[in-house]
């Protein structure tokens, strides 16, 4: 049986190398953060549809999730007792761990003046579990809500959270208006 010549082998190797290179570049381009932004659309959560099921924390391809709690100060009551910060049965409104709802200490409470307190989200600690969002929705006026943070989101072609979102709250929005914020019309 006649073996493959060296010339044929080199030609075939060169062809496969070029194909592999092009495939790699294409794959890289598709998976690169911001690829979708170039196509003009990004993933975002509609706070009005979100039911705080907790899947944003566990279903995102990123760890921790690219979904974070955000705070609309415009509609916050700045209350001493905050449903997004305090456990439902908390007997004290202080900063002790036993009073707090957030599992990762991602909400910081700060005294403004009597009787107002400001609540700030520490995004690096937020895991998108929506516990605070649920508490705020049940207790207050929904000034805490979840949003996909586009500095963290890879903007996959098929968002793994959108696939499992039970309320259909995640959809693509124009990258020119990438957030759906409460309290701003």
């Amino acid at each position: 049986m006649k073996g493959e010549s060296r010339r044929d082998f080199l030609k075939k190797a060169a062809r496969w190398s070029v194909l592999a290179l092009l495939g790699g570049v294409a794959f890289r381009m598709a998976g690169k953060p911001g690829a979708g932004r170039r196509s003009g659309m990004v993933w975002q959560i509609d706070p009005a549809k979100c039911i705080q099921c907790g899947r944003c924390e566990t279903s995102c391809v990123r760890t921790p999730s690219a979904v974070k709690c955000v705070h609309s100060y415009d509609i916050c009551g700045f209350c001493n007792l905050c449903g997004g910060y305090h456990q439902p049965g908390a007997k004290d409104t202080g900063t002790g761990a036993e009073n707090q709802l957030c599992p990762t200490d991602a909400i910081r409470r700060r005294f403004v003046e009597e009787p107002y307190f400001q609540y700030d989200i520490v995004e690096d600690l937020c895991i998108g579990c929506a516990k605070c969002v649920k508490g705020c929705a049940a207790f207050g006026n929904g000034s805490l809500f979840l949003q996909v943070r586009h500095d963290r989101c890879w903007n996959c072609n098929e968002c793994s959270i959108a696939r499992v979102c039970p309320s259909g709250a995640i959809s693509r929005v124009p990258s020119g208006r990438p957030y759906r914020l409460r309290g701003q019309g």
Binding site: G77, H86, G89, G94, D105, R110, E113, F117, A138
Partner: protein, 477 residues
């Protein structure tokens, strides 16, 4: 005895290993952490130890008269939840069964300071404890039921910061005296006709009361010549104040480390004993309302402990007590029994969360036909904010459905029909029925938001408000 070489060897190796482990352990415990750790401990919010604003409030110091005249129209709504404190009105003429698309005729409207205070009506006069942002004062406005024009107003300067509005409570009128409780726990008693100042009291300085978050929502009760207050302070739980002179007639010592809630004092008979029932933060108790032992503590329980309580306890027709609250609390039914020795004992009959039965976040439910009616709280799951009917144990019989949600708005029963107001000012009239939701008419009558203030019905006139305006509707057929 010759030492065993193997034993020496084993002990030596064990000793060396122990020393190495100790060194490694010591190093591990003393080396600086390579990950940041934040201790979640109290007092990290920077709140000063004491921020109490001590203010010398001269209750009743402001007065102004107006051009209004008291109406001759019949009908009264003399305080929180009406004459019988059951939120049921008696219309003096048949009410219309349908409305024009724009709703019942609006007879008059008045602008108010932002808040949720509700009106009381007595002898053709409408009383409302408003907050005047310009003068920074609690002002009791006395208006004509005819046209809403001012007869007089009296109040006092007090510093209040906007916190979901300012005003909260409903005045109480009895025996010719009108009594108010302001957002900062100031009590004011005036001649209900002339507006003359009778007496004033600061429940905080008098009884050590501490106003709840978002200011007090407690509405006064006039009963048997006394104003019944619930300071729920460290020493005094309830107090009876002489209506005429403001002197303290009786007090009930505090049964525990309880605090004032937004609820009001309920009054009714249980097991043949007339009593006051109040649900504070951390506990609830019944106090005698009979002349012989008025103010005596009859029973107490610490089984009902929501962090925020707005609806007042309900003493049901069968003698049970029903309490409910929002913010994840749900509801509880209690049984108060009188033993052979005359001692009262309280037991929890049923307790459930907001998704498991009837509950209310802000308004006290209405009892009708042996059932409870009200608006389900935000955390009630699919039934959230729907009008609902439940049996006396809180089992939901029906709801208004997802197309009819009402937020936190008030409910009133009159002439076999419910009047239900939504947050956005849409008024719905529905047949009073235990069998199902039977809406009759619906109209948007208020243009503002947060229409949470309790409504009042006087004759055939309905008074209702949003956060900044009160209107008077004519419901007559």
């Amino acid at each position: 005895m010759k030492p065993n070489p193997d034993r020496i060897w084993i002990v030596g190796v064990a000793g060396v290993l122990a020393a190495v482990c100790s060194l490694l352990g010591g190093y591990w415990l003393t080396r600086p952490l390579d990950v940041p750790v934040n201790a979640r401990v109290p007092e990290l919010d920077g709140r000063p130890a004491s921020t109490a604003l001590v203010e010398n409030v001269r209750i009743g110091s402001l007065f102004q008269s107006g051009p209004g005249r008291a109406s001759d129209l019949p009908g009264e709504w003399p305080g929180f939840r009406g004459a019988a404190r059951d939120n049921q009105g008696v219309a003096t003429a048949p009410l219309a069964d349908t409305w024009e698309p724009t709703g019942p005729p609006i007879l008059w409207r008045v602008d108010l300071g932002e808040g949720h205070a509700g009106p009381a009506v007595w002898a053709g006069r409408v009383y409302l404890l408003d907050y005047d942002e310009t003068r920074r004062a609690d002002i009791l406005r006395c208006l004509s039921l005819d046209d809403g024009r001012l007869l007089w107003e009296r109040g006092y300067p007090v510093h209040i910061k906007r916190n979901h509005g300012f005003s909260r409570t409903v005045p109480c009128v009895g025996e010719g005296v009108v009594v108010t409780i302001g957002p900062r726990c100031h009590v004011m008693a005036l001649d209900a006709v002339s507006g003359d100042f009778l007496w004033g009291m600061d429940m905080a300085s008098e009884f050590g009361a501490r106003e709840p978050d978002w200011y007090t929502g407690q509405c006064p009760l006039i009963d048997q010549g006394h104003v019944v207050l619930a300071p729920c302070g460290p020493q005094v739980f309830l107090a009876g104040i002489n209506l005429r002179d403001g002197r303290t007639a009786w007090t009930t010592p505090s049964p525990g480390h309880w605090k004032m809630s937004h609820a009001s004092v309920a009054v009714g008979a249980i097991a043949g004993k007339r009593m006051y029932v109040y649900a504070g933060i951390n506990g609830m108790a019944g106090v005698s309302a009979e002349a012989g032992d008025c103010g005596r503590l009859l029973w107490k329980t610490e089984a009902w402990t929501p962090a925020v309580i707005v609806p007042s306890p309900m003493i049901l027709e069968d003698g049970r007590i029903f309490v409910t609250a929002g913010y994840g609390s749900g509801s509880m039914a209690l049984d108060v029994k009188r033993g052979e020795g005359g001692q009262f004992a309280v037991s929890v009959v049923k307790r459930y969360g907001p998704r498991d039965g009837f509950a209310s976040e802000q308004q006290t439910p209405v009892e009708y036909g042996g059932c409870l009616f009200g608006i389900l709280p935000k955390d009630a799951g699919p039934g959230r904010n729907q009008f609902a009917c439940a049996d006396g144990m809180g089992t939901i019989l029906w709801t208004s459905g997802p197309g009819d949600r009402f937020g936190l708005g008030p409910v009133l029963l009159a002439s076999n029909r419910f009047l239900v107001l939504s947050d956005e000012g849409e008024l719905t009239m529905a047949q009073a029925s235990t069998e199902g939701w039977k809406p009759m008419a619906k109209a948007k009558v208020l243009q503002g938001h947060d229409s949470w203030g309790p409504m009042a019905l006087a004759g055939t006139r309905l008074l209702l408000r949003d956060s900044k305006q009160m209107i008077c509707l004519e419901l007559k057929r």
